[in-house]
Structure formats: C-alpha cells, structure tokens
C-alpha cells in the first residue's frame, strides 16, 4: 500500500506539474485572502480583496467605505524638509515603488501610504509565520505518515 501511495504520489506529481502550479497559485490566492481578511478595515486589505475577487471573476463586494484623505495630490516634495531636488526625486521614485507594492497604495498620499505600509508589513509578517508554521506542520504530517505507513 505504501508503494502504491508513493507511486501514486509520484505519478500525480509528474502528471500534475501544471496541477502543482495551479495549486500553488490557488494557495497563494488563499493566503492573500486570508491576509486581507485578517485585518479588515484597512485600505490595503480592501484593495487586496477587490483585486482577488476581480481575479476570481466575481464582482467585488465593494464595501469601500474608505475615504482617502486623499493626499494623492500631495507630492513627495512635502516629504522632504529641505532636501535637494535630487533627493526629492529619489524619494519620490521610491514612494511610487512602495505604492505599487502595497495594495491600494496608488491612491494614497504619502502619509496614508506609510500608515498602510506599516499595517501591511505587520500583516505580511503574521502571514509568513502562519504559513511557515503550517508548512512545518505538514512536513511533520508527511513524515509521520511515512513512518506510520512505512
């Protein structure tokens, strides 16, 4: 029976490379959904949910009560107190990059962006640790399974 299992496992893995890819994508999406769910009420989490739902093809349940204090008009120059032009440009480029990273960041001004970034980072950290723990758990399970069946 073990061999059968192994065989099947191998077989499926070979055959299921695409399946694997698909599965990992789904898992990732699930993880992101979990991430978005875990901290509701944040702008980035709402944006993330919208993005995921869009990908799933569903209409976004836009409970978007978010008001951007929309400092989108506020530019990076306001960030620097007296930085040179070059600095300001550099900083602005980075702020844009950050905006792209953080879901929903493009609409936010610098202030809000930093807030959301902080929250996003915290949520990401939590998710990474959760997923890592899960991976360890599954590892253990696999090992136990092999031990039990072997």
């Amino acid at each position: 029976m073990d061999e059968k299992h192994d065989h099947r496992a191998m077989f499926s893995s070979e055959r299921g490379h695409d399946g694997f890819v698909e599965r990992s994508r789904r898992i990732k999406m699930a993880a992101e959904m979990g991430l978005a769910r875990s901290s509701r009420g944040r702008h980035w989490s709402r944006a993330l949910r919208r993005r995921l739902l869009r990908r799933k093809g569903a209409t976004s349940g836009g409970s978007c009560g978010c008001k951007d204090d929309s400092s989108s008009s506020k530019t990076v120059e306001e960030l620097g107190v007296g930085e040179n032009e070059d600095d300001a440009v550099e900083v602005e480029a980075r702020v844009h990059a950050l905006q792209r990273l953080v879901p929903g960041g493009e609409e936010l001004g610098v202030e809000r962006l930093f807030e959301e970034t902080a929250d996003y980072i915290e949520a990401l950290q939590g998710q990474v640790s959760a997923m890592r723990a899960l991976a360890c758990l599954l590892d253990e399970l696999e090992r136990d399974k092999r031990v039990m069946s072997g």
């Binding site: 769910r37 953080v102 959760a130 899960l134 399970l141 399974k145």
Partner: protein
C-alpha cells in the same frame, strides 16, 4: 562680592519665605522666580562669565544658611517638580531626527520609558529629604502634572540657572562639591530632572544614559546656544505662563525677566538681536499657550532671531495671555492640539500653509520612524531615500516569502485521496483531548487543505486563524501523534469542535469552512470534516 551680598540677601529673604510657601505650592513660584527676576534686573545684560559667577555665588550663598537643608529640600522639591517640564522639553527636543525637524512627537514609545527612568533616578538620588514629586512622566503626555505649575516653572528656571552656572545647588543638596562646577551642574541637572539644564554642556555625567537622552552633550557656550535656548525657551514660556497664572502681580516682572532671561541665555551663543528679543519675549510670553505641545514645539525651534517676532504672529491661539494663564490654573498641561496651536519654528514662514505643511511633515516623519522600528535593521539607516529603500526591500521580501511558502505548501499537500484519508485519520481527531484552541484551527486547516476543492478556503482559514491565534507547533505535533479512532471521535469531536471554535473564529470563516464542508458531502471523509467544524 557685592553681588553675592545682594543675592544672598535676596536668596535668604526668599528662602525664608520659601518653605511655608513651598508647602502651599502656588505662591512659592512667586518667590523663587522673584529672586531670579531680581537677579535679572540687576544684571540685565550680564556677561556670561559674570553671570555665571554671580549665579554660582547666589547659589552658594544659601549653603551658608543655617536652614540650608530645609531650604535645600524645599528647593529640591521645587526643582524636582520642575524637572518634569524640563525633561519633557528636552526629550522632545532631543529626538533623533535631525535638529531641523526635532519633533515633540518623538514616539511615545521612546520617550516615556526613558523619562520614567530619569525621573525615578532623580527620586532615588537621595536628595535631601523631600520626596521628589517628580513621579510622573513628563513630556507630551503630561497628564499628571502637579497642580503647581508655576511653582514648577520657578524651580525649573532656578535649577536651570543653577545648572548653567554649574551651580552649587548640587552642593546645597549635598550632591557634589560646589567647587566642581561642571560636575555639580552635571549631576544636579539630572538629579533635578532637568533636561533643560543641557545648556551647561555636560556631556559626561554620572548617569550618562539619562543625560545623553535628556541633554545632548553640550559644550558650554556656543554650540549649546540653540539647545539652551531651546531648552530655556520652553521653560520660559511655561514659566511665564505659570507665573501669570499664579501671580498676576508678578506677571510684569516675569515677562520682563523672562525676556531678559532668554536674552541672557541666548547670549551664550547667539548673536541675535537681543535687544529686540528682549522686548518681544514679554509680549510673546503672555500670549503663549501653556500646553506642553507648544512647549515641545518651541523646543523645536530652529535658530534664528525671527522666532521672537514670529511667535506672536504665529500664535494661533488667540486667547490673551491671562486667559491662558487661567487655563493653566484649571487644567494640567493639555495634550497637544497641533491642528490649532502650532508654533512656528525659528526662521520659518509662519503662514497657515507652511504650518500645516510642517505638521504634515512631522506626521510623516513620525510614521517613518514607526516603519523604521518595524523593518528590522533599519535603525542605523538615516535618510529618507535609504529608509524607503529598506522598506521596499522588506515588503518585497515578505511577499516573495509568501509566494515561496505557498509553493512549498502546494508540494507538501498530499495529492492522492488515499494519503489524505490517512492524514485525516491520523491527525485530525484529537478533539477529545484538551486541545488548546490555537491547535484546533491549524488542524482544521490541515483537514480543510487536504479536502481538495476548498483548498483556498482552507488556507484562508488557516492563515486567518494563524494570524489571529498563534499556533503552538509543539502542541500540534503532540496532538498529531495521538491516534484516535475515527468513529469514536466523530460525535464527540463535533461538539468539542463547535464549542471550542465558537469564540475563536470569525463568523464568516466558519461559514466558509462550512460551505467547504458542504461541498465534500458526498465523500468518505466528509464525516470527519463535519466533525471538525
């Protein structure tokens, strides 16, 4: 010295009055500052050296007083109380941010503990007697301020002055040899809890930690000009505020003297138009608001003579000074209301736009500081661009980690039904056991993840629960090793699960899981899944 004689007289006169007044509290402030005020009057533009020597003599004179200890203790109490203000001012002023943007929004994370420490240290200093009432955390969160702010202000001024002169206050309080000026001031200031005594240029101190935090290492004289100004400015303002609150009669004197005080302190390093500032500050003082936020903000002032002139203009608080004084009386220093009462910094434009700008910039820098704490290894980095770089890298690395982990989970996920069955059998049902709640979600997650389609749901639930309740992996593993028969577990597990899950999971999570289970209805391990839920 004639000065000494004069001052000694003043001192003794005031000192005699002090003890009883000190106890009462409010009136004392009149006395203390009075002597200083007199001092100021007599030496309006005293040269620094003369000033300091005079001060030291003034300070030392009380030593000779028989009731020195009593006076000292009472004064010590005064100083202690004032220390709070100075501490707060200085701490806010000494934020790690470049001086240009020194903000009194130095994270509350940073300021209170250190403040507490310093305060506690002062209390422990064996000051001659009076328990220092500095048992509050000064700073922007100046809630528990004593009801004698003016009192404190007087003491602050006094101590700071003494500090500057490396006064023998220390000697009086039995801290250090009066002869050793720098040391005395050094020790005294921290003991008095005066960050503002920074002006004395004490880089080495008995308690370097506090001092470093409270006072930036300052060299007597020039470099400290700004700091001392900054440190004294807020004091003065607060002092003057308190003064007006406490004794209206003194107000005129206070204002004048504070102005001169400021002038004198500024002379340390600033070639500012003192004459003009001398006249301006009084007006400024009266109009100043006493809130700590304001003081903090004044501490943020940059160098420049314009501030003197700018202050009244920038004063957004339109209340007349006396009214503010009364406010002081009634309330302890209020938390900063920076959207209204923003003080212009020195040398900066004072129109509403720039003020709002500055507030925004301070907010932004505060948030950047927070991000700095969040991102590991960012403490040494300075500069916005580099910080942002680090933050971006960190976010990217986190996202990549998640991707990698999700791929790993995909590989770990058993691909065959059989294995899944095994898994389910083996792992899931320790519901019997005294399973800690955090364990449950993980297991359920496991179950769900092995249950084919609602994989996504499973992971969501796992992740969510993982985020909300940290699993203990050990307990998980131990529970995993238990093997329980499926059938036995079934009904029991169900009740157990539901009861345990009740409080833990989000509602929608449960719904999701249930729908997931619903999908699995037809399958063999459905029973298990149901139970899990």
């Amino acid at each position: 010295m004639e000065k000494e004689g004069f001052w000694g007289q003043q001192w003794q006169a005031t000192g005699a009055k002090l003890p009883p007044e000190l106890n009462s509290g409010s009136a004392a402030s009149d006395q203390l500052p009075q002597c200083f005020l007199n001092l100021n009057w007599k030496q309006p533009m005293a040269h620094d050296a003369d000033f300091e020597s005079a001060l030291s003599s003034l300070v030392s004179s009380p030593c000779s007083n028989p009731p020195a200890s009593a006076d000292g203790s009472s004064i010590g109490e005064l100083i202690g109380r004032l220390g709070g203000i100075c501490n707060s001012n200085d701490i806010s002023a000494s934020s790690p941010y470049p001086s240009a943007d020194a903000s009194c929004y130095s994270t509350p994370l940073n300021s209170p503990p250190k403040l507490n420490l310093s305060v506690m240290d002062h209390r422990q200093q064996g000051r001659g007697g009076p328990p220092m009432p500095v048992n509050r955390v000064p700073g922007p969160q100046l809630g528990p301020f004593s009801a004698e702010p003016g009192f404190e202000d007087g003491a602050a001024r006094l101590s700071c002055f003494a500090g500057r002169s490396s006064g023998s206050f220390a000697g009086q309080f039995g801290f250090l040899d009066p002869g050793n000026l720098s040391e005395a001031s050094r020790s005294q200031c921290p003991k008095a809890g005066f960050g503002s005594c920074v002006g004395v240029g004490q880089s080495r101190s008995e308690r370097p930690a506090h001092l470093e935090m409270k006072m930036r290492p300052k060299i007597d004289g020039s470099s400290t000009a700004e700091e001392s100004e900054v440190g004294n400015g807020p004091e003065e303002s607060s002092l003057s505020d308190r003064m007006t609150a406490e004794a209206s009669s003194l107000r005129g004197i206070t204002d004048n003297n504070s102005g001169k005080w400021k002038t004198a302190t500024k002379r340390k390093g600033r070639r500012a138009p003192l004459s003009s500032s001398a006249t301006n500050p009084p007006a400024n003082m009266t109009e100043e608001e006493s809130s700590d936020a304001k003081r903090c903000k004044t501490a943020d002032r940059k160098g420049g003579a314009k501030n003197e002139v700018a202050k009244p203009k920038t004063e957004k608080n339109g209340h007349p000074g006396h009214r503010e004084g009364k406010d002081n009386d009634h309330q302890p220093p209020e938390p900063p209301k920076d959207y209204i009462h923003v003080r212009a910094r020195r040398g900066q434009a004072t129109d509403a736009h720039s003020l709002a700008e500055r507030v925004r910039r301070e907010k932004i820098s505060k948030r950047m500081k927070f991000l700095q704490d969040l991102v590991p290894g960012c403490n040494k980095v300075t500069g916005k661009a580099v910080m942002l770089d680090e933050i971006i890298n960190y976010v990217q690395s986190l996202q990549r980690q998640i991707e990698f982990l999700s791929m790993k989970l995909a590989t770990l996920n058993p691909q065959t039904d059989v294995s899944m069955e095994n898994l389910l059998r083996k792992d899931i049902y320790q519901s019997r056991g005294p399973m800690p709640q955090p364990v449950f979600p993980a297991e359920i997650g496991t179950v769900l993840s092995y249950a084919h389609q609602p994989q996504t749901i499973a992971l969501q639930s796992i992740v969510t629960s993982g985020l909300e309740a940290q699993f203990s992996l050990n307990s998980l593993q131990s529970s995993l090793r238990q093997s329980q028969s499926l059938q036995h577990a079934t009904t029991d597990a169900y009740t157990d699960a539901s009861s345990q899950l009740g409080g833990l999971w989000e509602d929608d999570l449960q719904n999701v899981a249930q729908t997931g289970f619903g999908q699995n209805h037809g399958q063999t391990h459905t029973g298990h899944l149901k139970i899990e839920l």
